[in-house]
Amino acid sequence: MAELICQMCGKPNPKDQEVCRHCGARLTPLEAAPPEDTPRENAELPSSFEVPVQPDPGEDDDLSWLDELREEDSDEQTGRIIPEPLDDEFEEDEETDWLERIQRLNTEQEEDLSVEDQGSEGDFPSWMTAELGDPGVPESEPAAEEPSEPDLPEWLQVRTDELGLEPSPAEEREQFFGPEQEREPEPGPEPDAVPEPERKPAPEPDQPPLEEPVQEELSDGEERLDRFQETPEAPEGIQTEPADRDELEKPAPPLDEEQDSAAREQEEIPERTSRFPSWASKIQPGQESPQDWEDEDEDIPEDLQFLAGFTAEDEDRVDKKPAELPAEEPPRQPERTVDPFAMEEEEEEELFDDLFEEDLPSWLTSAVDLADQPAEETISPGDLPGWVEAMRPVVEQTDPTGYSDEEEYIENYGPLAGISNILPAEPDIETAPEDDKAQSSMSLSVSKTQRDYAELLEKVIARESKVRAVTEPEALPTQRILRWLITLVLILSLSAVIIFGGGSEQGEAAFQAERFAGATALHEIIGDLDQADPVLVAFDYQPALAGEFHYTASGVIDHLMSRGAYLSFVSTQATGPTLAEYFLQSTQEKHDYTHGLQYLNLGYLPGGGAGLLSFSIAPQTIIPLAFDGSNAWDSPPLEGVESINDFSLILILTEDPTTAKLWVEQVQTASTPPMGMIVSAQAEPLIQPYFQTTPRQVSGYVAGILGGYAYENLSGEPHLAHAAWLPFNTGILITASVIFIGGLANGILTLYRRQRGTEGGDYS
């Protein structure tokens, strides 16, 4: 026995049944004749047909809308119009469209949304209402002003099946019983359907199937629409409220012949009504920023709640390319770096959060963006130069598809408008026939949870192509003020002491034997030297430390020269030879040593440790000439020196513990002379062990200005170390207090921030 499929719930019912056993909806249309005064358009489809969402079996409280629906149906049948209790947001629009009410019910049951998000129907942008066939505005109205091309360009008018919406019963039937041609015509009341446009012959195989698939679709679409019209028309009395009261009052312009034909044409080309899926209805126009969508989080089922949380600020950061990030942005965003190699939960959460931002498929968002773009931003059509205008042939009006009567293609749009036989400016979106089949088969009846998962999958795929800028790491803000404060305090105090303080003439400070044992030992060794004893002095410090070594070594070298020792300078640094000359010139002027007589500059000894080793074995072959090119080994300072063991003392000036270690390990053997060192204060902790071993690898050492000061105290000859004594001590005092206060303040600041639970320094 043939069955009737209920329009509302899609379930089969026995043929003789009038009302659907499952959902109580009417199965057979009422045969009432349309009243004279209401133009056909009123019988037009309800402006927006909302596919009821299949309630999840588990959600009992969602079935209440069905009961309401049933009461309405019974009211309709009895013809009574029950003024609907209006919600405040619909105060100014009297509710007459049952579909609008369902939509409102839908939104109420989902969540108690904030008022501004509840876009009333009026909030739909004009293109949507025009698109959806504003119920209040009679269809014919658009004909008055040149078939009002909806603001939406043609390519945006998306076929319903693209939206993966629930297939209409005809499609379902088609799936089961195969396409219409093969089936014998369906018995059933012939609606006064709009005559089908004859089917166009299938295009030649080589000819690109330009418009064909579209045509076919259209015919399917038309069929569906016709059948649709069979379904219960807008129940009598349910007036779909005009989006805008003024439009209603606007007198409908008189229809003249031509407009009437255009209107009819308009009807033949079924509007590609875009029926929005239920989730799209929640996206009220004007609701772009993720911030608003975030409020929609409540709709997201519990198990996906953890994915919510993508804030507008991240949206900004994501949109902003690194180059656009202002270069000077010292306090940077908190560190939430996404590391593709090893993500922490916080970052994983952020990654999924992004998924909830783009609800809509990209084609719709671009449509919404286009609608929202202020007028001046839309690209104004370029005006063609005069000569091109003149060249364009005058062509009579062609139909929108661009085919003139002789089947010749004439371009409709763009600068080449009017020229025939060219590639169409607007490529049609080709969808192979099978796609439709696949599309339609995809539109199964899905529950809300399944729909959410589908959206999630869609977003994950859409997400892949999107380049996400990685957030900047948090860098502790540089304390510029602390730096300036330190500079000011240090330089002012040192300058004041240097200008007004003067040096310390006598050795006020008590001499600590234990601490300066190295200086004592070196003093004794130099004290034992005789006149003209050859001493090898290595200038192995960097020019940067010339200042410190002038203060530290001037006393020691002065003592050497006062003993009349002959000095030979060598250096394993390229700048060493010149430093040696500069040292003598600026600190030992009073001794009047002459190059070649009392001292000799052997110059640069390259090769580091290897050079030292070879110099210690065969000095004459390694350095045949002096630094100035003269013959070194015949001059008085090196008289009788064949190898390194012939020197009375080897004195090394260096700030680098490694250089000191090289001299000790490569040069020193059992038979080498005593080795003294003058080192920078930073090398003292590492040179001390060489002095403490027994036998001593370093016979004596002086470290830093204090060592030099102690040595000058021993020799009783105040020199540069004494001159620097007061500023040096002032500097130490100032530094110790600044570091102590600054360090304490920063420590307390960090502890305070730790109390407040914000990330401060590292607590590992």
Partner: protein, 233 residues
């Protein structure tokens, strides 16, 4: 101060100006500092090149070619070939010089291993073993030397243990060392912090001495110029 020649006076004035330009970095990065540093990079690069040519290339490559013995001349010729190939590194045909760089890398790697073993590992090992024979000038009582030696041995070994890299990896748990190694490592880290503190203070004292030297130079210059200007009137 001895009468200053004109060239020296220009030099000292130039030094004064360059010191001021460098000190401007204390207020923040600025064009003056960059000007002075770029002059310095150019001058120092040329200076090092001149010293290297004067002290290495001429005496060890060119002079033996001209006046050296046969073996020295042979050695210099053998050195000249790779040197020319090395100049290919400054041209687009840089691949030609790769084998010469290989020689330098071979020498460098061997120096790293040999120098580390003979220059650091063995001496430091000996020093650590002899920790209990500390003699620092004044004879220390045995008890003090014992305690110091003990702390030296503990410090050295715990510092070494702090660097232990290997872990026992259990599935599903992040790589962590044994608890006992972690604990000992933390003791080692205390010794490391003390060592770095002492070295850092030493580095600062060297910088402070340089600061005093420069401020004295600026003051002496202003002083001398002032005296000379006053004496000129």
């Amino acid at each position: 101060m001895a009468p200053m020649s004109a060239i020296d006076f220009i030099g000292i004035t130039l030094g004064f100006l360059l010191t001021i330009l460098i000190f401007s970095y204390l207020l923040g990065d600025n064009p003056f500092f960059r000007l002075a540093t770029h002059i310095y990079i150019g001058v120092s690069a040329a200076y090092v090149a001149l010293v290297t040519v004067n002290n290495v290339l001429i005496p060890r490559l060119i002079t033996p070619l001209l006046t050296g013995t046969d073996s020295e001349r042979l050695f210099s010729v053998l050195l000249l070939i790779p040197s020319l190939f090395l100049f290919a590194k400054a041209t687009p045909f840089r691949k030609a010089g790769s084998w010469v760089m290989a020689i330098l890398v071979g020498i460098g790697a061997a120096t790293a291993v040999g120098g580390a073993i003979t220059g650091t590992l063995f001496p430091q090992l000996l020093g650590s073993m002899n920790s209990f024979r500390l003699s620092t000038g004044t004879p220390q009582p045995f008890f003090v030397r014992l305690i110091n030696g003990l702390i030296l041995v503990i410090g050295t070994t715990t510092t070494l243990i702090y660097f232990h890299f290997g872990t026992r990896s259990e599935p599903g748990r992040p790589n962590r060392r044994k608890a006992v190694i972690d604990k000992i490592g933390q003791v080692g880290e205390i010794f490391i912090a003390i060592t770095f503190g002492a070295l850092f203070a030493g580095a600062y004292l060297a910088a402070l001495a340089a600061m005093i030297d420069r401020l004295s130079y600026l003051w002496n210059y202003l002083n001398d110029i002032g005296v000379q200007i006053l004496s000129a009137f």
